[in-house]
């Protein structure tokens, strides 16, 4: 079972919210570019989830690809906060150092463009901070989410 996102702190205190996805084909595991756990999403004008725009507010997707409940009802669970610490593989490690600010951006993962974590661009909204760089963490970026 491939896991792209793992919580380091407990789930119990976090707000787990379900939203319908705007494009239901993205929860089909056979889609060319399905939404993965660890991608960052936000609601569009119809209050449905889409991949987050780079540099803007976003919540992390907490659902593995292909889940039957997700496919059945077309909804994904996102973590709205409050603060948590987690490991993610959906990130761009370029220039990331311990303690640096992170924002949402387009990253290449699994040969596809996904919505993940990158070093904060100039005016981008800060999603969190790096607490462990990938080279010291088995290829995963550890971060604390501070936006909620």
């Amino acid at each position: 079972m491939q896991t792209n996102f793992e919580l380091v702190t407990e789930l119990q205190g976090l707000l787990r919210r379900d939203f319908s996805v705007a494009d239901r084909t993205l929860v089909d595991p056979t889609n060319a570019n399905p939404i993965l756990d660890g991608e960052f999403l936000f609601v569009d004008n119809t209050y449905k989830l889409v991949r987050a725009t780079a540099g803007t507010a976003a919540w992390v997707c907490f659902m593995e690809r292909g889940r039957f409940d997700v496919q059945s009802i077309g909804k994904l669970t996102v973590l709205m906060g409050p603060t948590y610490e987690a490991d993610t593989k959906i990130m761009n490690p370029a220039s990331i150092t311990t303690g640096c600010q992170l924002s949402v951006g387009n990253v290449t993962y699994g040969g596809q463009t996904r919505s993940g974590l990158v070093l904060q661009a100039s005016t981008a909204l800060v999603i969190g901070y790096c607490t462990r760089i990938p080279t010291n963490n088995g290829g995963k970026l550890r971060f604390v989410q501070t936006l909620f």
Binding site: G66, F68, D69, S72, I73
Partner: protein, 376 residues
């Protein structure tokens, strides 16, 4: 012995904080005003649910959710032969389908124990009772969305995979147009309408017959009809030519009291925000249609942390409409209800969003009661 609801709320607050656990308190008659009728699930009447366990389900190596795999009967046929001939061969393969599981939950209700004292009705019991029906409303909504998807999928297939737009403009009396009404059919009055609107027009007896024929003409049989109470009320307008002298006089005084309509069972619903008026579906028997499984019956959770009481109810179910050809639809409004949304009225004829269900009827919060006085 009856106990005032205020005492009930006090006892509830005390009991929920004891180490013996949070027990449910017996119901007593409440002196409160109800806002709306709540109805049991119509989905459960069309496909009765079956209880299953984890042992009946299939896992995945990629995640921690469950499906149940259901077999579908294989194709077969016979043929005539000469004395010397041989039949054609068929290497048997029967299809299978997955029934996925998910949760339906109430809201998470919260209240401080002090504020519970302000209620004279057993508010926790009221919400607990209503939550079961609220959960079943979501079952119905998902079912309605699914049956609509079934009929529209067949309609799309029958029209050569182009978006079909069967509104009155195309299907006007005398002008068949190129649209094939394979699984969705307009009623007689809708076909004759001058404009394409979402207004449900009275259903006529021939409309039902034509609806049944869409199933009966495909080696299936229409067994159950689903319609709203408002559409059902149109039957009371049928004339002597439609129902005969005896029924006409009976219904004038007693209403229609039979279990069958034109030889089919029917299911009426007041949930007009889920099954919108003007949409009438007919179904085969459940064995030809789909499956509805209950993995976990409705559970009720309650907790008290300091002075804050929290409670929630949920169930885990799975459902799948495996034979999409086992449902057909009659529309008594003239607008297009397909994905093409030619008249931009699909939102008016399809189920409302979950968060918009169960709109409040009373206007008490706006201060509209009569006579209205202020406590001074």
């Amino acid at each position: 012995m009856s106990v005032p609801a205020q005492v009930l709320n006090d006892l509830f607050s005390q009991k929920v904080g004891t180490p013996d656990g949070q027990e449910k308190i017996a119901e007593y008659a409440g002196s409160y005003i109800r806002d709306r009728l709540r109805e049991v699930s119509y989905f459960r009447k069309i496909i009765p649910p079956q209880q299953i366990t984890r042992a009946d389900c299939q896992r995945s190596v990629n995640h921690d959710t469950l499906v149940k795999i259901v077999d579908v009967e294989p194709q077969s046929r016979a043929m005539s032969l000469t004395f010397r001939g041989q039949p054609t061969a068929r290497f048997i393969r029967a299809p299978r389908a997955e029934v996925p599981f998910h949760t339906i939950s109430s809201e998470k209700f919260e209240k401080t124990e002090q504020e519970l004292l302000a209620y004279e009705m057993p508010i926790t019991k009221v919400i607990e009772d209503n939550s079961v029906k609220d959960i079943q409303e979501i079952e119905d909504r998902e079912f309605t969305v699914s049956i609509e998807a079934c009929v529209q999928a067949l309609q799309l297939e029958a029209n050569g995979a182009t978006t079909s737009s069967p509104n009155a403009s195309i299907l006007h009396v005398g002008t068949i147009g190129t649209t094939v009404e394979f699984s969705v059919r307009k009623g007689a009055l809708a076909r004759a309408a001058a404009t394409n609107t979402a207004t449900a027009l009275p259903v006529q007896r021939p409309d039902f017959v034509n609806l049944f024929k869409m199933l009966d003409g495909n080696r299936l049989r229409a067994e159950m009809v689903l319609l709203t109470e408002t559409d059902w009320d149109d039957i009371l307008q049928w004339t002597v030519e439609d129902v005969g002298n005896r029924i006409q006089s009976e219904t004038t005084t007693d209403g229609y009291k039979y279990n069958l309509l034109l030889g089919r069972a029917y299911c009426r619903t007041i949930k007009t925000d889920i099954l919108r008026p003007g949409n009438i579906y007919c179904f085969t028997k459940p064995d030809f249609f789909g499956r509805f499984y209950i993995l976990n019956n409705t559970k009720f959770y309650i907790d008290k942390i300091a002075n804050l009481i929290t409670w929630q109810a949920w169930e885990d179910i799975g459902s799948a409409l495996i034979n999409v050809a086992a449902v057909r639809k009659l529309e008594t409004y003239s607008c297009d209800s397909s994905l093409g949304n030619a008249d931009s009225l699909v939102a008016s004829v399809t189920p409302k969003a979950e968060e918009d269900l169960g709109a409040v009827n009373n206007r008490v919060d706006s201060g509209i009661t009569f006579p209205s006085v202020e406590i001074f």
